[in-house]
C-alpha cells in the first residue's frame, strides 16, 4: 500500500532569491522515484489543506533521500510555510507521483534538457541519470544573474544559459539560446513556463524532433482521482474518453504532440 509519509527534513536552505533547496529523508520514495516524477508536499497548516506538487530535483536511492528545489510564490503562501521548516523538523509528503521522462528513448542520443525558471530542478535529476547514457545538452533559462543550480548541471554535459536580462549567457529565453548557439538535438525533454513549452512544441514540430514536456496544473488529489488537473489533448484519451488527460497521473510529462498548449 502507498501512503502519505511524515518525513524528516535533513536540510532546507535558500539558494537564490525566493528559491529553496530541501532534502528529505524518505527511503520509501527515493527507492521508487524516477526523473520527472513529483511529490505532493503538505504545508502542515490546517487552513491550507491541498498538496503542493513539487518535482524531484534529486533522488538518492542509496541514502534514501530526495531533493526538492522550490520557489516561495508569495508572502502568505504554503510554500512560504514550507520554507520555514528546519533540519530536524518533519514534513508530510506523498509520492513518487506521475510519470517521468521516457529516459530509455534518450539512450545514445543527443538530448536537449531544457528548463525554464522553476522548471529547472527536475531537469537536474534527468541530467544526472542521462549523463552516461546520452549526450546531454542542458539549455537553461533564468530571469537574471541568480542562476541557481547551474553549476550542478556541468558535470553531466554542456550547459547553455539564457537570462531574461542578459546578465548571463544569451539575453532572452531558451529558444533564443538554441538559435544563438546554433544547437540541435535528437530529442527534447523540457520543463518550464507554458509560453516556453508552447514555443518548444512548435520548434520541435518544425524540426521534427521528438519532444516531451512536463506540464503544470492545479491539483487536489495528486493521484488521478479528482480530475482537477487536466490538460487538453489533441486526441480522446483512453482513460477520460474526452480530450483531457490528468497531469498528475497521466503526466506530468507528455509527448508534445499529444497536448494543446
Amino acid at each position: 500500500m502507498k501512503k502519505k509519509i511524515t518525513a524528516p527534513v535533513l536540510e532546507n536552505k535558500k539558494i537564490a532569491d525566493g528559491i529553496y533547496d530541501m532534502t528529505l529523508d524518505v527511503p520509501e520514495i527515493a527507492e521508487q522515484a524516477g526523473a520527472g516524477q513529483f511529490v505532493s508536499l503538505f504545508c502542515g497548516d490546517r487552513s491550507r489543506l491541498l498538496p503542493r506538487p513539487i518535482s524531484l530535483c534529486g533522488i538518492d536511492a542509496e541514502k534514501g533521500t530526495i531533493r526538492l528545489v522550490y520557489r516561495v510564490t508569495g508572502k502568505q503562501t504554503g510554500t512560504a510555510q514550507i520554507a520555514e521548516r528546519k533540519a530536524g523538523d518533519t514534513i508530510e509528503v506523498m509520492g513518487p507521483l506521475g510519470n517521468g521522462f521516457p529516459l530509455e528513448m534518450a539512450e545514445g542520443k543527443k538530448v536537449f534538457l531544457i528548463g525554464g525558471g522553476i522548471g529547472i530542478p527536475p531537469m537536474l535529476e534527468t541530467a544526472r541519470v542521462l549523463a552516461d547514457k546520452a549526450q546531454v545538452e542542458s539549455v537553461l533559462g533564468w530571469r537574471d544573474a541568480e542562476t541557481f543550480l547551474r553549476a550542478e548541471f556541468e558535470p553531466y554535459g554542456t550547459v547553455i544559459a539564457a537570462t531574461e536580462d542578459g546578465s548571463v549567457g544569451t539575453r532572452g529565453n531558451v529558444l533564443d539560446a538554441i538559435r544563438e548557439n546554433g544547437l540541435s538535438a535528437d530529442l527534447i525533454f523540457a520543463c518550464g513556463p507554458r509560453p516556453m513549452l508552447r514555443a518548444l512544441k512548435e520548434y520541435a514540430e518544425k524540426n521534427s524532433i521528438p519532444c516531451y514536456l512536463s506540464m503544470e496544473e492545479r491539483m487536489a488529489c495528486g493521484i488521478g482521482a479528482c480530475l482537477a488537473c487536466v490538460c487538453e489533448t489533441t486526441e480522446v484519451d483512453s482513460h477520460s474518453h474526452v480530450k483531457n488527460r490528468r497531469v498528475c497521473k497521466d503526466g506530468p510529462v507528455f509527448e508534445a504532440g499529444e497536448v494543446k498548449l
Binding site: M1, K2, K3, K4, F42, R46, S47, R48, L49, L50, P51, G74, G78, M94, E217, R218, M219, A220, C221, G222, I223, G224, A225, C226, L227, A228, C229, V230, C231, V236, H239, S240, H241, V242, K243, N244, K249
Partner: protein, 304 residues
Amino acid sequence: MNTEKDLTVTIAGVELKNPVMTASGTFGSGVEYSDFVDLNRLGAVVTKGVSDVPWEGNPVPRVAEVYGGMLNAIGLQNPGVEVFCRRDIPYLKQFDTKIVVNVCGHTEQEYVRVVDRLADEPVDLLEINISCPNVKAGGITFGTNPRGVENITRELKCHAKQPLIMKLSPNVTDIAEIARAAEAGGADAVSLINTLTGMKIDVNRRTFVLANRTGGMSGPAVKPVAVRMVYQTAQAVQIPVIGMGGIASAEDALEFILAGATAVSVGTANFYDPEATVKIADGLERYLQEQKIDSIRELIGAVR
C-alpha cells in the same frame, strides 16, 4: 477485552458493513485510492458522476484552495455511462463493498438514459446529483426548487431498478422543504450536502482563480452548515439521510450520525489524507468500544 461492535447500517434495504462511504467525485471509481486503502473496508464506494455520453467538464483551473477547504469546478467530466459500465463496474465488483453510482445530466431525459442503462447492472444504489453547481444546465437547477425535485425524483423512480438516493444542494433557503419534496417523489434516501457555491479572487492578478468563476466549496470549513442541514433534514423526513461535508475524522462522522445520518461520505479529506475513510471506520468502532455501545445504529439521530 474488546467485544465485536456492530457497525452495519441499512439504506433502502442495502446493508453496508459500516457507515463510511466515499463522496462522489473525490474518489474516482476507486482505482486510484485502492493503492492507499483496502476498498473491502468501506461501506460503499460512491462513484464520480456519470452521464449518458462523455462530458468534457470545465476549463482549468478547476480547483482553488480556500481557508479550511477548497473550491472545485470540475464540471462533471466523465467518460459516459457506457465506458463506466464496461470498465468501472467490473473493477468495483472485485471488492466486497457496495457500489453507489452517482448520476448526472443536463435534462431529465439524460438522467433517465443513465438510470435505464444502469438498470440491469450489478449496482446497489443510485445517487442522483441534482445539486452540482458547476454545470450550466441541469445539476443545481433541478435541486433548488421543491417542485422540480419532486418531479425528477418521481420520474426517475419509474425507471430505476435500484433504490434512489437524491443528492441535495445546500444552496437553498429551506433544506427541509427540498428533502420533503424528494421524499414525496419517492426517494429511498437523501444525501447531503453537495458543495456550497463559492468564489475566490486573485487580488494580485485581479482575476477569478477558477476559470468557471464560481466553484463548489467543500472540506472541513463547510461542516457546521452540513451538520445543521443533515439535522434539519433528518427531522423532516422518514427516509434515511446520508451525511457529508467536511468529514475528516471519526468525530466528524459521529457528529453527522448523531444529527441523524444513517451513513456518511468522505470527500475532500481523501485529498490530504488518502487513508481517511478507513481511519474513520476504525475510529467509529473505537468509539463504540469506549462508550460501550453495541451498535452504531443506536447513535443515529441520538442528539435531538
